[in-house]
Symmetry: D2
Subunit: 405 residues, 4 copies
Amino acid sequence: MFKRRIISEGHLIDSGIMSKILNLIIDEKADYQIIHFDIGKKQDEISQLELQLNCESEEKLNVVMEKLVLLGAWEKGAIESVFKTSDKDGCVPSDFYSTSNHRTEIFLDQKWQKVSRQRMDAMIALRNHGPECIKLRDVKKGDKILCGSESVRVFPPDAERQSEGFGFMTNDVSSERSDNIAVLKVASALREIKDNGQKAVVVAGPVVVHTGGAGALAALIREGYIHGLLGGNAIAVHDLESEFYGTSLGVDMKTGKPTHGGHFHHMRAINKINSLGSIKGAISKGELTSGLMYEVIKSGIPYCLAGSIRDDGPLPETMMDMIEAQKQYGDIIKGTDMLIMLSTMLHSIGAGNMTPSWVKTICIDINPAVVTKLSDRGTGQAVGIVSDVGLFLRAVAGELNLDFT
Amino acid sequence: MFKRRIISEGHLIDSGIMSKILNLIIDEKADYQIIHFDIGKKQDEISQLELQLNCESEEKLNVVMEKLVLLGAWEKGAIESVFKTSDKDGCVPSDFYSTSNHRTEIFLDQKWQKVSRQRMDAMIALRNHGPECIKLRDVKKGDKILCGSESVRVFPPDAERQSEGFGFMTNDVSSERSDNIAVLKVASALREIKDNGQKAVVVAGPVVVHTGGAGALAALIREGYIHGLLGGNAIAVHDLESEFYGTSLGVDMKTGKPTHGGHFHHMRAINKINSLGSIKGAISKGELTSGLMYEVIKSGIPYCLAGSIRDDGPLPETMMDMIEAQKQYGDIIKGTDMLIMLSTMLHSIGAGNMTPSWVKTICIDINPAVVTKLSDRGTGQAVGIVSDVGLFLRAVAGELNLDFT
Amino acid sequence: MFKRRIISEGHLIDSGIMSKILNLIIDEKADYQIIHFDIGKKQDEISQLELQLNCESEEKLNVVMEKLVLLGAWEKGAIESVFKTSDKDGCVPSDFYSTSNHRTEIFLDQKWQKVSRQRMDAMIALRNHGPECIKLRDVKKGDKILCGSESVRVFPPDAERQSEGFGFMTNDVSSERSDNIAVLKVASALREIKDNGQKAVVVAGPVVVHTGGAGALAALIREGYIHGLLGGNAIAVHDLESEFYGTSLGVDMKTGKPTHGGHFHHMRAINKINSLGSIKGAISKGELTSGLMYEVIKSGIPYCLAGSIRDDGPLPETMMDMIEAQKQYGDIIKGTDMLIMLSTMLHSIGAGNMTPSWVKTICIDINPAVVTKLSDRGTGQAVGIVSDVGLFLRAVAGELNLDFT
Amino acid sequence: MFKRRIISEGHLIDSGIMSKILNLIIDEKADYQIIHFDIGKKQDEISQLELQLNCESEEKLNVVMEKLVLLGAWEKGAIESVFKTSDKDGCVPSDFYSTSNHRTEIFLDQKWQKVSRQRMDAMIALRNHGPECIKLRDVKKGDKILCGSESVRVFPPDAERQSEGFGFMTNDVSSERSDNIAVLKVASALREIKDNGQKAVVVAGPVVVHTGGAGALAALIREGYIHGLLGGNAIAVHDLESEFYGTSLGVDMKTGKPTHGGHFHHMRAINKINSLGSIKGAISKGELTSGLMYEVIKSGIPYCLAGSIRDDGPLPETMMDMIEAQKQYGDIIKGTDMLIMLSTMLHSIGAGNMTPSWVKTICIDINPAVVTKLSDRGTGQAVGIVSDVGLFLRAVAGELNLDFT
């Protein structure tokens, strides 16, 4: 039997992490013996666990250890980090450590040091200023890459059990909940963000425009509740289409009727912007005077329209190089306190990939499956609201007494 | 070749019925020759069609004819109705005519006579006062039942192409439409119903309560916009649960949090009503002073809570005999001008079965599949709104300036 | 401060129950102090917890206690059960204990005694043979009803973490899983059920017929894998329609094309059965020679077709009195080892209400929301498979080498 | 009143086009007078329509005319095409003609000439070899661009009413259909495609791998049924993950259990491919010996993995420049006879945009909304199958007697 001593500390019971640790070991067909367990006797006391992990091979021990790290356990008597050198651009040694989106520390120079630029699916490289998450494609030959998980500890966010905030939505995704309560909570969170000078970023799909929510979102931006917009070509195109021609995907925004031939409108809108040079050009030439993109540009908040295989045009502002688009998304997400995902699975998963797990993340979609998928892809902190995004945004803006159409 | 002459008249082209007639004949692998086609030259002129249907057998001719009747075609030189006598309760001759929900006439005593009590899946019996739709289970030995379709003509409602009403929603069920427009249309239709002294009936599921829409619906009832309520045991139980204990299915209606053990509340609510004798008893004893069922009973509008296999309790007011429940549903639907279905597939299909196709029917559900299913079951006139029923009702009540919680 | 000592025992950590106990107390804004916690040092050792619950009032203490009982905690130094007498049929004292679907014991005559006929949302009455779950409507004046929760302990099923069975599906409902694995697991479970002489009951909706799964289900019944069928009027009607006329809801089962006028077929099928007296009569007269209902009746397994507000006909075998239908459902479920729910939310919730939580419960539906709803209504043990029920049943029957069409 | 004479010819009634023409004019609040209508007297005879369109302004006339063209109507006494010159790259005159995906001809040099490279949302440029669809971004200053719609006629595909092919699925998207029939139809269509040397292209999302359908799809490719693959980074990553580590998105493909830490596997797979240079390199070095990407590359069929904002890695073969990716997609689609869309909305809409409406297009997805969205975006020819893509592919491959895992 190969053995290793494991430590974990914190709200191990009420967060459910203790259960996960033991179940993981059993699922892996390994074995454990609890050496020591000091339970927090009262609500605000933390617990301390030391257990001995027994495996049939050294290799198995490494496999299980790697997974325990994700749950916030670490090896007793921390071991100095091992960095190996990449021998080719975009490649790392095969036993590299792959990050989660949780806060992470590594044992380096005999002390626990925080890893910067936390994101999921990254490598930890040793830079001059310390350890840092980098994407695989940014690895250069010669980079020093952290290998193994023996010198890592991560801090999964505690379940938000005491939260007066969004905790109520944590556990399930159901269309049978009162969305009016969710409206009140989101409005109050946005008010708090604004009052405290914090940062909220919206990821939005074209459904925001189709369902009549663009005016409400534009008002939120104009009034300073939102500090970054992540989207694609389509949300901008349909916003412009509705500003110039009163339709969205060819559907009249006033009557809800499909207009025959109205599907031309989005191409006319793109052509018009191309003629004017850009969306910004359309504004400065007085041709675009309201709407979502107008408020985004007028307010000066950063935005990125990431291109995709389905785009028409694209608009001059759309970034069709995905490497660059991911970089811009990442820059806008940096330092955000709240991420609001509005009916776009593609861009939400993209943004989720780059967002640390401690950022408040809300996903509003009429399809309950979207939140499940986000969570399957690692953005487990996202709380889901199954609702109509247009009505939802209008209700939030109404609650904040904003003026909008 | 066996032949028959077929007549049809009306807005055959713009309603699409002419296309359906020809396609039906081709799909049935029969053949046709157009004898005469007088097209309406202008928008308000009707067209007239006479065609010869050719089939390889008399039997095939009958099969195709039966189906053409549904599209509003009839046999040239109408044939006197044939009634055969039922020889057993609940049974009809095997060539009985099965009704649709469209307006129907039969050729009787050498003239076209309207069939009364129109509904789908019924038989046409000859009663003293004329031909009438009756359900199979109401057939008595000795009843005279219409057989064959040669003496029938039906009037499918024209597509509502010119309608300023709900026509805009006719063609598709999409979650990518502006529900704000739908809110305005529904509010305006309800205002018109009230102003004109017409009748609107609501079919509602417990999701109305769970999603926080009960207060808005109660206000619509209190203010005279709704004239009948069709539901089940659950909507009443959860309304009472939320009135007595502030939860719905154990979820706190103020915070949206599931309350531990709150799933007891619905049983306590039922027990309380049982002790007080009935919901009505609870009101008269001053124990129930607000909410959906309160307004329903206070306003005196007819209602029926149809039982089901999943019911707890049930409440004293719940009808557990489905034969009787269907009868009560049918009585409430009689003469209604508008049927609003709120997030309950079961009761909506039940109500749809009893409703003539000329009744304006709207179905609001977060699941787009519900409208497809309604239509597959014959309620083809239902227009679907894919939305959150709680937010939707609140927005409608807001638009009508109603007071609600 | 009001205090009470609470005990719990078992796999408290790995089952997650310990976390739930502490979180419940915190959520209720009560307080705790852990008096004693003996952690199971190894995988197969159980843990023992004693804690002191502190509340600001006696009433609060009762509220929290009632909820803790549901998690398998009980009061230290068990207290003799208190039974109060019902003073009216269908009514119980207001502090009655409402059951969950977990195994339950009460402290009676100074010992823990098992409650019989376990089901959710029931009362515990004292009968000659001991304590028993009864439905509210079956309570008679004079019945002795258990009140309070101080003398109750329940046994929530451990998470099936080590199970080679269905444990893999416990945690989430996702359409992004390999249903082929689920097919293999279900086939192997059915084989085991049959080999061991255990009992499997199916709850099935008409979608089983529409999607072409009726032949596979009929084969499973014929070959002895299924020992009870719970459904409604529609599944039988459409099975008969497809046997007599080759269509289901008017859609040709061979070509998949809607047949014009085919919606008549289900009424013809009902009329035919009515003429022959019953489905059984149709079989004995040689008119019905294959299909789902044929195999159900031929095999002699118990079945119940529960009526609903949406039923046409109904068939002679359909039970339109919901009180009686619930009784029959309950009788068929009694003693079942496995419950398979096939695409019918209504009947599945109904069956789930009557089923103890230790029965293996699988729900196969193309709509991921159905399992969420089952769970919200207390059938938390149901594992969900998001799949096409027709293809799924055919694959299971294929895996078991059955002959079917 | 401004007037114009309009001509249309073909199966105007049974295709429903005649209804659409009249309804369009009414919806536009214009008026018509039918000058001449020669109805096809028998099934195989075409009809001929001449009508006078009356509008209140010349401008309105142009608007309505533009829309009528889409329905296959054209101006009587065809008018020579007008080309205007683009004065800026990526810009066209504001009255440019925007194409649909239907076959299109323009009246040029006094005869109707076919437009090449048909696709939707394109412009028609005059090139040396004749008129051609080009994308807005490919327009160069000086290009001659067709303006107005007076000289255009398009040929919408007739409704496939007589088809023994996929016509059965044309009318609705329902989860209540027998997917076994769809399996047989798709298998038989693929057999025909192969036998006749035609071309089938698959658009596939990662769900194909997650749901266990990759082996079946790989077999279809190996055996020559599929001639092009359009996807994204994720389908390749998860295929490689499952080949190298036996998991897909961290879920074990054999047991269906999520493996703790298995979410690392996809990063390991990418790193491994990077080290080997490419997927092709992995094959040539003997490291990748089976699976979907293996068969794609071994068979030599063209493929494109289009990048997106959510991609990890990406793989060396993934094209992150969307302009280039769209070009490659277009090249692979060129000349295809059948397009099969497997559970990816993003890439399906992208592919649909480039595909002429006469290409047989099937979309298999467990979410009924996907087909509605495709259709809303112009790919109206797509027939939808609501099913589990893994089980579906396995059933198709089984029906074709292929060997697969």
